[in-house]
């Protein structure tokens, strides 16, 4: 187990470094940061001065390693726009995004798991067909449009919920629904498939034969075994969702890291964008790593490879 964990950890670190290299080169190759900082109408002397001041005149590889070593120590450089350390800027906003991600995954699980169980108990019933329809429709619903429709109904027409901002828990309701429904179809389908598989197993028949109640068989015997892959999927989905929070946060003007990313891209604030790409990637990497380790811990067969 320890050997597996170490190997998996090393791989995660390698992936992380590669992602940072790719994102650094992508952003650097796509434009001259000195011109972006100087703004429109700057003289070439100003641009030259900025280039020297920020160290853009040094070779790209040197710049990359300087940035990487800084990032490893929590120093992501200065924001071009705010003239503040990027790390401070992000730290403020990250808690909002993490809270949104957590609420969304809980919301998705609370709806999708019972639906998946109900669908598996009676395959091809009305519930099963409704669940399938919801998951197919859910996958086709553009999240930004869904968000606007929610604002239109619940904020403008009914006046129940605030359309934008992040001051109270009520500001989080609609963003949670929009971000959470996105993860639902996959969780629902996996729960259903897992339950169908498990319900055919011999030990379920044994439990029934012993006279265990239907609810006990379903939740104590079946769901416990079917839920393991669902939990690891949920961890991966959580990583994806944090990356997708940029769309949701910008619709609802929820001042999290995703909103900051959107603003920073518009302002061509490269250090902030670079740091955010790295942070969102690291969330994904950490969540998949955790899910792999938990799986390996629960199921020794997973420790191979």
């Amino acid at each position: 187990m320890l050997a597996f964990a170490l190997k998996r950890l090393g791989l995660a670190a390698l992936v992380m470094v590669t992602v940072s290299l790719v994102s650094f080169s992508l952003l650097r190759l796509s434009g001259d940061p000195a011109v972006a900082i100087a703004g429109e109408g700057a003289t070439s002397a100003t641009i030259e001065a900025i280039r020297a001041q920020y160290g853009f005149d040094r070779p790209l590889s040197i710049q990359y390693f300087q940035w990487l070593f800084g990032a490893l120590q929590g120093d992501f450089g200065q924001s071009y726009y705010f003239r503040l350390p990027v790390a401070d800027l992000i730290a403020d906003r990250l808690s909002v995004t993490l809270l949104l991600g957590l609420c969304s995954i809980v919301f998705a699980l609370v709806i999708a798991v019972p639906l998946g169980v109900a669908a598996a108990v009676r395959p091809n019933s009305i519930i099963d067909r409704t669940a399938l329809f919801l998951s197919v429709a859910g996958q086709a619903l553009p999240s930004f449009w869904f968000g606007l429709i929610l604002i239109m109904v619940f904020s403008i027409q009914l006046g129940w919920l605030p359309p934008s901002g992040s001051e109270s828990w009520r500001h989080f309701i609609m963003p949670t629904i929009v971000l959470g429904y996105y993860a639902m179809p996959a969780i629902m389908r996996l729960t259903r498939a897992g339950m169908l598989e498990v319900l055919k197993a011999d030990y379920i028949r044994t439990a029934r034969a012993k006279g265990a109640g239907a609810g006990r068989v379903l939740f104590k015997h079946a769901l416990r075994n079917a839920i393991i892959p669902v939990v690891s999927l949920a961890a991966v989905q959580m990583g994806f969702m944090l990356g997708g929070s940029i769309v949701v946060e910008s619709i609802f003007a929820l001042h999290g890291a995703g909103y900051l990313a959107w603003e920073s891209i518009g302002r061509k604030d490269l250090p902030t964008v670079q740091a955010l790409i790295l942070i969102f990637s690291s969330f994904y990497i950490v969540f998949t790593l955790l899910s792999d380790l938990v799986n390996a811990w629960l199921d020794p067969r997973m420790r191979v490879g």
């Binding site: 791989l11 390698l14 992936v15 992380m16 590669t18 992602v19 790719v22 994102s23 992508l26 952003l27 796509s30 434009g31 197919v136 429709a137 996958q139 086709a140 619903l141 553009p142 999240s143 930004f144 449009w145 606007l148 429709i149 604002i151 239109m152 403008i156 944090l242 990356g243 997708g244 940029i246 769309v247 910008s250 990313a261 959107w262 891209i265 518009g266 061509k268 964008v273 955010l276 790409i277 969102f280 990637s281 994904y284 990497i285 998949t288």
Partner: protein, 298 residues
């Protein structure tokens, strides 16, 4: 009496094509999806003939005319006009072209990259597989929307940039599925037989392996088309995708957003179009998976 003899004669076995046709027509999701997809594709293809107006032509005197089901509608503009007086139906029809083009070209680019990587990894295994798996991990770790937004913003938004960026980002599922499919076939007897009679690796991959994984390839391609269309709409909605005045559905929703208090149809119409297109493509993908699955063959 002769009639009785005729009736007793066994029916000839239906041909594989007939069987496939029956399976396709018996699958409601697939037929519905195909129907909607054909209608939208036809609308996109014949947009110049179907639209009575130029999608770019502005008119100060005909701004925000409501669609046909509302009061004060103008019969010349069935779906009304937008803030700049452009015919909404024309923009919707030309918008279908943008969405379909994004979907198809992105799927082609990402399909080429992902399939090459996946097939090579699955066939050769070992170190090649390690490298490809690593690349897939790196790609999956990068937040797609964020990276796409940043790159499009820096290169400047245009249809070509958006397609290229999405094509270079969305190859992961192709690689994952192709790798797994090829791995299952790699050691089968007919592949070994081809090796034994001295076929070149190229020939084995192209004419022994590929025909057997092309089903999965088409299914992934449909799902990635839908994915690309949704992403383009989201990028354009955020202002960092296709730029105005191009009639992209995502952009139409973004432009209608300021007016959604008073004129909600400005965002509901393109939103429903987007939803239907993506739903249709997903249904076709799911349906193809169902009808081509070996266990359903009878």
């Amino acid at each position: 009496m002769a009639n009785m003899d005729l009736a007793a004669e066994p029916l000839p076995d239906p041909s594989p094509a007939t069987l496939l046709r029956r399976r396709v027509l018996g699958h409601h999701g697939l037929t519905f999806g195909l129907g909607v997809l054909i209608i939208i594709a036809a609308a996109a293809l014949f947009a110049p003939f179907l639209a009575a107006h130029d999608p770019y032509a502005q008119s100060l005197f005909a701004r925000m005319k409501p669609p046909f089901w509302m009061e004060g509608t103008d019969p010349a503009h069935i779906l009304g006009t937008d803030q700049l007086g452009r015919d909404y139906l024309a923009r919707l029809l030309y918008g279908a072209r943008i969405s379909l083009m994004i979907g198809v070209v992105t799927a082609l680019i990402s399909g080429l990259i992902g399939t090459t990587l996946g097939v090579v990894a699955g066939y050769f295994g070992g170190r090649v597989d390690l490298v490809v798996t690593f690349l897939i991990n790196v790609r999956l770790s990068m937040p797609v929307v964020l990276v796409a937004l940043a790159v499009v913003a820096l290169f400047g938004g245009s249809l070509e940039t958006v397609i290229l960026v999405l094509g270079l980002l969305l190859w992961d599922r192709f690689a994952v599925v192709m790798r797994a499919s090829v791995m299952q076939l790699r050691d089968l007897e007919y592949v070994n037989a081809a090796k034994a009679i001295g076929c070149s690796t190229r020939r084995i991959i192209l004419s022994e392996i590929m025909p057997n994984v092309v089903n999965n390839l088409i299914i992934v391609a449909t799902l990635e088309m839908a994915h690309a269309i949704l992403l383009e709409a989201a990028l354009s909605f955020l202002g960092l995708g296709v730029q105005p005045p191009t009639p992209s559905w995502g952009l139409m929703i973004s432009e209608g957003k300021q007016m959604m208090l008073f004129e909600p149809w400005l965002i509901t119409i393109p939103g429903i179009a987007l939803f239907l297109l993506v739903l249709a493509i997903n249904l076709v993908g799911d349906g193809l998976r169902d009808v081509t699955a070996t266990e359903n063959r009878g």
